[in-house]
């Protein structure tokens, strides 16, 4: 080859290598607390920065993506079990955390935050503790229909093609399906699901898209979470919500916080868990755009009006702590359904 052919290559390789080395050198701190965070970066980033400011403990968060929401980080912890990289997981749902607990990948900790959260939303041994929950709700475009149980039942019966749902293998829709499987039995859920799909129910990749479709009026209603619905409401879209009820109970899905077994920063991890499960952080999450519902006790008047209503609904929630065995069955079935 003629000389100087390697010019552009040498330039690209050397500049890339130098930049990469500098960046790595400046981040390779062994003292940083590694947090795998499935809660949206928009909200959690500020909270983790606040923790850094208050304690001086450096935090390295690793966020999830919408595509792999929550399951991605849980699976990563499972795959890293031989050499754990994560110190604390801040999951945005419960089932994945329960899977980690079942595999013995969590370390129990009963701190002041664990004490203040009701037993329904924490592990008795302290393997995990729930904070700021979301509710599964019907999001309804009120220009096209009213947010009433009778209208929604009629829509489900007559025109499911006007209803949107996230693919049930992921996130909170999976939890929703697990609850349905427990309450109805798997065969009835399978029949119901097949019937809706046959009648062109609109299945989309995520809850955010369900919200977009209903907000735009492309669909009249859909299953999603309260945080998505509030994003649409705040943006001025004509949407209302109605809690989804299964056997008359609502579905409140908490964020969960847990310490990973094998952490080299146990003390700092406990400090972070205490911080995240504190009343201040629950209130902060409640006042954020996501309107997460505090699970611990709060004073009257501390909560925004719309969250107070949600808190009442959340108190009527089904128990989620025993869903893990059903999750396996539901996932097996859905895997066969969507990717046989």
């Amino acid at each position: 080859m003629p000389r100087n052919n390697a010019g552009p290559l040498a330039l690209l390789a050397s500049v890339s290598a130098v930049v990469l080395l500098v960046l790595w050198w400046s981040t390779s701190s062994t003292s940083a607390l590694v947090v795998y965070c499935a809660h949206d970066a928009v909200y959690s980033d500020e909270i983790l920065e606040e923790f850094e400011r208050q304690t001086g403990i450096q935090v390295e968060p690793r966020f999830d993506t919408e595509a792999t929401k929550s399951l991605g980080l849980v699976q990563l912890i499972q795959r890293e079990r031989a050499h754990p990289q994560c110190d604390v997981i801040w999951n945005n749902e419960l089932l994945g955390t329960l899977a980690l607990q079942a595999e013995g990948l969590l370390e129990p900790y009963q701190g002041p935050g664990w004490e203040r959260i009701p037993p329904k939303f924490r592990d008795p041994q302290g393997n995990w503790v729930g904070i700021g929950a979301r509710l599964r709700v019907w999001i309804v475009n009120h220009r096209q229909m009213t947010a009433s149980e009778s209208d929604i039942a009629q829509l489900l019966e007559l025109e499911p093609s006007r209803i949107a749902m996230a693919q049930p293998m992921f996130g909170t829709t999976l939890t929703h399906y697990c609850v349905l499987a427990r309450e109805w039995g798997l065969p009835r859920l399978q029949e119901w699901h097949a019937d809706l799909r046959l009648r062109d129910l609109r299945e989309v990749p995520g809850n955010g898209l369900v919200k977009d479709l209903v907000a735009a009026g492309t669909c009249d209603a859909g299953w999603t979470d309260t945080d998505d619905t509030f994003v649409a409401k705040d943006a001025g879209f004509p949407v209302d919500m109605l809690p989804i009820r299964v056997s008359r109970q609502t579905i409140a899905i908490p964020n969960t916080v847990a310490i990973i077994r094998g952490t080299k920063h146990r003390q700092e991890a406990e400090q972070l868990v205490d911080f995240l499960t504190s009343k201040e952080i629950e209130l902060r999450l409640a006042k954020s755009t996501a309107r997460q519902i505090p699970l611990g006790p709060t004073e009257a008047g501390e909560l925004p009006d719309d969250v107070r209503q949600l808190a009442t609904w959340a108190s009527e929630s089904v128990e989620l702590g025993d869903l893990l065995p059903i999750r396996g069955q539901v996932l097996d079935w859905l895997r066969q359904e969507y990717a046989p």
């Binding site: 999830d64 993506t65 046989p340």
Partner: protein
């Protein structure tokens, strides 16, 4: 949909998309090559931009309209893939040397079609000439199409990569996933094999360095086609973000730490992509020039042909082994993953650049060694045009591919060194358009600025 159907469905779509895009590729390549100097660079940039616009944002823009509706989703995926594959084809065509079978030769043969044997001869001439010449570019386009993941996943259209993703979520083991990759691997190997055979067996002459002449009607068609590509591939997806841009930039300006974090993430992604592209380029060169055995190259391409998801998961598992665990928390596994993912495309690009070693290069060397300054300058210019510019173009393309790859970055980046693409995806969840707009702008325009700076630096160093 079963896995077999998903694999063959993806292949059929890839073939249709590639064939549909090919006439546009030819037209646009002629349009770009019909001018020289600065206009050529601008035209090439205009053609490349729809490819460089993040796929995530394109999928994000169209998903509300088609996701959950199988037929519209499939049509939208095909159309968007055509738009995104055309720039790849144009670059591939520009890198491809000219065939010895000229259009005049085919025309002359066509003038004397009296018997079936004559028609057979014409067909044979066409296969040996234009088809064989087009083969590597077509195979690269086919390969890129077949490996498509994010757009198909966002629009919920048929794709073997999305099928594997769903299975992973459902708990499929890594071993079973690797087994499932057998058929797609074979198909991709066949694509690369066809390209290698075509390149190896075709007597080629170097591409023309002087601008060709594009008929006015062709130029008009090229401009219209490019306009359509821009509208559907950039303007509409960007339109979703533009409304929030001023607020987003204002917020970003008011949060210096966030801005710094974003630039850091962009630099991290770009540095890994650049290093991976360089490593893949060097490795491809070793396989092609030193071993001279395509089989070895093909075997080394296997990990990259598994797709980013399975490759990433396999590397996560591999770097848990005690012997390798000490590098788990470093960027090494990300670098390896990105290099392996890029290697098959690097092999194809390098293969036909290596074949372009001709008398023109010898002349450029002679001129560069001349004692006369003007001749030396001309020699350097010729060398830039014949050798360095195609390499820079190929490396730029590989770097972009690697930079925009979300899955590898998500799975393999060490803690504390996230890529900007992962953050961008995270923000999509809530449709935070102001934040998303500003970040998308930085993550898209930043790399362009840096690459332009590098190109200027290189030209400056040489002159």
């Amino acid at each position: 949909m079963t896995y077999t159907v998903a694999v063959w469905g993806t292949l059929v779509r890839a073939v249709l998309v590639t064939l549909a895009a090919w006439p546009v590729v030819q037209n646009l390549e002629a349009w770009v090559s019909s001018v020289d100097g600065s206009p050529r660079r601008w035209r090439l940039a205009a053609v490349l931009l729809p490819f460089l616009f993040p796929e995530l944002l394109v999928g994000y823009a169209y998903a509300p309209a088609v996701a959950g509706l199988p037929i519209p989703a499939e049509i939208a995926t095909k159309l968007l893939l055509i738009i995104r594959i055309i720039p790849v084809g144009v670059v591939a065509r520009m890198l491809t040397p000219t065939t010895l079978v000229t259009p005049s030769a085919i025309h002359c043969r066509r003038l004397q079609l009296r018997t079936w044997h004559d028609r057979y001869q014409l067909w044979r001439l066409w296969c040996l000439g234009p088809l064989r010449q087009a083969c590597p570019a077509l195979m690269l386009m086919l390969l890129v199409n077949f490996q498509e993941f994010e757009l198909a996943a966002l629009l919920k259209s048929t794709s073997w990569t999305d099928w594997l993703f769903v299975q992973q979520v459902g708990g499929l083991s890594l071993g079973a996933s690797l087994q499932a990759c057998g058929l797609p691997l074979l198909l991709q190997l066949a694509m690369i094999g066809v390209a290698i055979v075509a390149v190896e067996r075709t007597p080629l002459v170097p591409g023309s360095t002087t601008p060709g002449v594009a008929p006015r009607a062709h130029s008009r068609a090229a401009v219209v086609l490019l306009g359509l590509m821009w509208i559907f591939g950039i303007v509409i997806p960007a339109g979703v973000l533009v409304a929030g841009l001023p607020t987003g930039l204002w917020q970003l300006a008011g949060q210096p730490s966030r801005g710094q974090g974003l630039i850091r993430e962009m630099l991290t992604g770009l540095a890994v992509a650049g290093a991976a592209a360089s490593a893949a380029w060097v490795a491809a060169g070793v396989f092609i020039t030193r071993f001279r055995r395509p089989v070895i190259g093909l075997v080394c391409c296997l990990p990259g042909l598994l797709g980013s998801l399975i490759l990433g998961l396999a590397l996560v598992a591999m770097f848990q082994w005690p012997l390798l665990a000490w590098v788990y928390a470093t960027p090494v596994r990300w670098l390896i993953g990105a290099s392996l993912a890029t290697l098959p495309r690097a092999m194809l690009l390098r293969l036909w650049l290596e074949r372009n070693q001709t008398a023109g290069l010898h002349l450029s060397q002679l001129l560069s060694d001349s004692p006369i300054a003007a001749q030396r300058r001309q020699g350097q210019q010729l060398h830039w045009r014949l050798v360095e510019q195609p390499i820079a173009l190929a490396l730029g393309l590989l770097t972009c591919w690697s930079y925009l790859d979300l899955t590898t970055a998500y799975l393999l980046a060490p803690n504390g060194m996230p890529s900007g693409m992962v953050r961008l995806y995270n923000f999509m969840h809530f449709g935070r358009t102001s934040a998303l707009s500003a970040e998308a702008l930085v993550l898209m325009v930043g790399p362009w600025g840096l690459m332009w700076g590098l190109a200027r630096l290189w030209r400056g160093l040489r002159s």
